[in-house]
Each structure stands twice: as C-alpha cells, then as structure tokens.
Amino acid sequence: MALDRVNAVVIGAGAGGGIVAKELAEGGLRVVLLERGKWYTAFDCRKDDLRNQRTSVLGCAFGPDDERNRRVTVDAQGRELIVLPSDGAYQNNAACVGGGTFSYGALAWRYLEKDFRMRSTYGAVEGSTLADWPISYQDLEPHYEKAEWEIGVSGDESNNIFRPPRRRPLPMPPPFPSREHLLLKAAALRLGLHPFEAPMLRNTVPFNGRGACMRCRWCVGFACEQDAKNGTQNTVIPKALASGNCDLRTECVAKEILTDDRGRVTGVAYFDADGRLREQPADFVVVSCSATETPRLLLNTRSRLFPHGLGNRYDWVGRNLQGHAYAGAYGLMEEDVYDDLGPGASIGVCDYNHGNPGLAGGGALSNEFIRLPYHFASLRPPGVPRWGAAHKEFMRRYYRRSLAVHGPVQEMPVFDSRVQVDPRVRDAWGIPVARLSGTNHPHTIEIARYVAGRAEAWLREAGATTTWLKLPGRGLSGGQHQAGTCRMGNDPQTSVVNSYCQVHDIDNLFVVDGSVHVTNGGFNPALTIMAIAYRASEHIVRTWKGTQMRS
C-alpha cells in the first residue's frame, strides 16, 4: 500500500539518521524517519546487569530481540554459525530510537588530523585497504563543533598537546575526579604523558533543558535514569518532531529500497509495526542503519539495473567491516580505589595514537567504565583459577582494588572482512539476514600489543602490584564501533559514496552512518559519525533548495 509522497525517507534513527532527520526537517523538507526499534525513555531504565547493550547474556535491552533476528557468521575455518543478537559474534549495536547513542558510554572524541590521512602518513600496509579520507579534519571541524554544542559534550582537553585545532571550547566542564582518576592522572604526569579529562556526551551541569549526571554505577550499555546522557533520542530527534516536518515511525523495518527503470530511487518498502508491507514514496532516501545493517539493506535491494545491490557496481558494499581492536591492561592495587563514582571512564591520553615506533597508528587510552561484579568475575591475572574457593577469595579481595586502562586501537581495514546477505537464512520478516566473515589484520594485533604494553606501564606507575594485558584476537571486528562498509571516496571504483555521503551512481540515495568511515580513528566513533551527518545534511539541504533532487 502506497503512502503520500514525502521529500525524504531516513532509515534508522541512530547517531547518523537522527541528525539528518532533524537537519532536513528544520530545512523545510518533509521527512519520514523509519526506525525498526522502539522509543525508550529514562523511565525504561532498568539497570539490568545481565540484560543491557554491553552485557547481553539474557538479551539486548535496547534491541534487537533474539526472537526475530539472526545473523550468519563464518569463521576463519569457513564454519557457518547462526547467531542471535545477544551472542557476541552477532556484532550488535542497538535497535531503538537513538540507536547506539541511547545506551552508549558517550565518549566523544574528535579524530586527529592524521586519522584522516592514514595512507599518506604510513604508506601502504600489505593486505589492507588502508586509504586517506576524501575529507580532512578541517572539513569536519565546524561540524564537530556543532555536534558538541547541539548534542552536548563535557570535558577538558587543554592538557592534550595532540589535540587538533578547534574554534570553540566544549560547552560543559568535566565531572569532578574519582579516586582512580586522580591516581592515574598523577601517574601519567610522572611518565611524561599528557592526560586530560575525556570528552563525554554527558551533562555534567544542567544543559539543553535536562539535568546533570549523578555518577551512577551503570552507564555504558544502560539507559540513563537522569536523562543526562546525550544521544539523538533526547536532542535532535525531539527537535525534528517539533519542526512539524518529521514523521517518526517506530517498529518499522525497512525491507528494500524502491527504484525505477531509470536507476533512481523512488522510496522505501517497509514492514510496519503490525507487520504490514508498506511503500513510502520519496524524492530521495537516506540510509542510516549502521555499518552492518546498511550494507544488508543495499545488498537486499536488487533489480535489473542493480543485479548486485545498490551502490555495488564495483563490489565495495559491505567490504572493510571494522570496529576497534581493544587493547589495554588490568591492574590490582593493595588498597581500595573503588569509590562508586560512575561512569568510570574519565581520563584519556593521546600519546599513543600516532608516532609509535614501526607501527601504522595506535589508539587513545583511557580508564575503563565501572566493571560490574559479573563482568569482573571473568577477569583475573594469570595464576588465579577460574572457579573455586580461590576465585571467590580473589573476587572479594580485589573487586574494589582493580584498575583498568584500555583503548580502541585503529584497525587496518581488510577487504575480505565483510557483510554479505545470506542466501538461505531469513529473519522473522522474511528478509535475508547479514552474513559476516573475515578476520582482523595481523598488523592491527601488533599495534594492539604495543598499546597494551603502554597501558600496563601506566598502571604500574599508578601503583598496581599485579598487572596483566587485555589483547584482541584475530576474529572479525565490528560490534559497537562497526564502520567502514560503504566507504567514502572520490573514486567510484574503490568506494561507495562521495564525500557528501551520496552513493556514486545514484544521485538521490545517501548513506549517513558509520558505514562511510574510510578508517575508524583510534577513538570511539560516535562524535565523528555525528559530524559527518551534519556535514552531509548541510549539503543535502543546499542541493535540495537548488534541484529538489529531481532529474
């Protein structure tokens, strides 16, 4: 059943999609925002340590659900497995209004100048599609600023000598330091590092009409009962709706993008909350489903003109799936350091993002979010048994005495680490599911080893008497920081979208989410996804006023 035509359909109300919907709606366009998940609020915050977006052993609190969703993974030996959203191998992010930004940890870094020029900085890396972005840090700078002020970031980077130039400071101060923060800061200074108060998309003072963080124990992976964590669900999406130009439709699952026989996009076919198939005609479509679901949707849209899926003329859709290789260390102290002051992560150093001897990059280090008891039960130094009386004694003695420093090591993109659609397995709506295969690049693991060693040295300086490393495996990366599967570039033969996120051979189709990242920085990616969304939106609104996207 066809609905009234609108100017734009934005698919996915996450980090990228939420911003595009708001910018377009405020720019005067009629927008339909489709989201497969529900709209949760602060009142849906259950603080359930076994059922959230980070520890999902009993399910993903903020979607997708285990009942209706599946993926297929293929391991290094070629073995296929059907996995559920609550399994780690599913590489889940989220499915709800706000996407990952509803429950994220909210670290809010800008990438560094070199992160946009990895290939020029380090040269070719064998077995990797490492490349420069078609845009520079300077191109994104004003949009980073807009994200920091409109979504809301706290922190203080003044001691970070590696920070790229910025015109405007962050709108909010950092929270007051925890005991762990003070210990780590002093140690970092003794080591000659440049610690600073990590930027966070979190209110530390009343801002944007909402209150300040109250420093709880359950931040990353959980909703915020204080509504102090800033995502698109409590900032730009309400603004989009307030404009009167945006119609948000939740629990609506996009099935495929509609095209005509001239190769232009004409709308979106989706299942509504009652499972009815609908067709929403539009002048153009923006896909913002995240780096695994976006390629899935493009590849599921096939026609005579696009036999291999949309934007996939040169077989780049779904390629270069990456996340971050988390590297770091744990340390045990001989006295209590836990003071129950969340969220945990608070101090960062960028000393190891670049310039590491013989290595093509690195990653930011920061202290970890609070480790809840079940999580801590899986961590122990070599020598401590996994179970039994000694393990229980270890838990009791060290739960309040542990430190953890880690960081998202920038990955070397691998062409064969990819999202495809599975030829057999379908989800509850009958749509072919994503099929994930590939491995991490060996050099990524080398870099991670180095960065983990630096983290360990930092913990030792802070007084940890026992330390051990946390190292990534060779398995496929993606998950919360998934990116890279619809690469941005100037050459249509080696990328999927141009620098404004427009699909190369389809003028009225855009991809605006983590998929477009060429490389993923040595940082959590959300602020960069937001900045790119502001930049692309500005372009779309400008183009719209000229051509109406009609050819």
Partner: protein, 192 residues
Amino acid sequence: MRRKVNFTRRQFIRVAAVGVAAAPMLGCGAGNSPWRFLSKQEGETLAALSDRIIPEDQFPGAARAGVVNYIDLQLMGPYKRFRSVYRRGLTGVDQTSQAIFGKGFVALSGAQQDGVLKALEKGNAPGAIWKEASSREFSDLLLGHTMQGFYGDPRHGGNREGVSWQMLGLPYPPIRGRRHYDLTKTGTVPSG
C-alpha cells in the same frame, strides 16, 4: 570445604516455593521436582556443581545464593535454547563421575567433585555423552551461568538478597537517583 547437599536441597524447596514469577507448573521438571524445567535429580547435581564453582565459606556458596533457581528460571526464558545442553550435560557429569569414582556426582567428596570438574574443563572427561558433545563447552557454559546467578542482579532469581554484592562491598540498593522505580514490574525474564 564443608558439603552442603542436604542443606541446599531444603533451600531449593524454599526458593521454589517462594517462587519467581514464571509459573512452575509450565515446567518440564518431573512430577516431584521443585523446579520449573530441571528434574529433582538434575537440580541436585547442578547445585553440587555450582557449589564447587563458588563454594560456601563465610559467605553463601552458589547453591544457597540461588544459582540453581537462576538457571532453571532462565531455562524457561532466554536460555530455552540450552535445555538439551543441560539435560545431556548433567547426565554426562554423572557418567564421568561413575567412570572415575564409581558414584554419581552428588555422592562424591568435594575433592572428587573438583576432579570431575577439571576433567570436564580439560575436555577429556570419560562418559558416553562426551563422545558427541564437548565437555569443555559444557563446563564453560556452566561456569558462565553460575557466575551470572551468583554475581548478577537478584531480579533474575539468583544472588539472593544481593549476597554477592554485600560480599564485594557494593552498596545496595543500587539506585542512587531521584527516579525510583519498581524493579518487579518489567525487565524480568520473559516467562514460558
């Protein structure tokens, strides 16, 4: 370590009687079982197993903290998919015990039980079932679920009265903010 088999068995009945939401009658436990899914005997084996993973000391062990209740409840919900793994795995544990010590797991001494657990963990446990299923995978699953039931939130049927959190020195109740809400309303395990 002291053994708690009789004591914990009494505890089971109490926990089950106090009951956590999901209707016990729906279960597949045999007629005389206090559990929703597990049989009486499976429950006893699981209690003994989990009590070796987290033994009783000055704080309750896994069984007294409600780990069997946790696992049984999840087997009615999100862990439905592990039902046959448990059914076969718990039988396999007894097969291994019989093969090594000539007795069922529950009847072994603590040290013998640890020996069985270590054999399972290594993946070379004797027993017919372990020719088709991996004992290592079963012991990993059991370890994970036991930790969840002991260290996870009490709302899921384990960690009774937040006993593990008390042990770790974590203040309870956990809500620090101005928005208080009823934890019994939603966010529990979908039943049946």
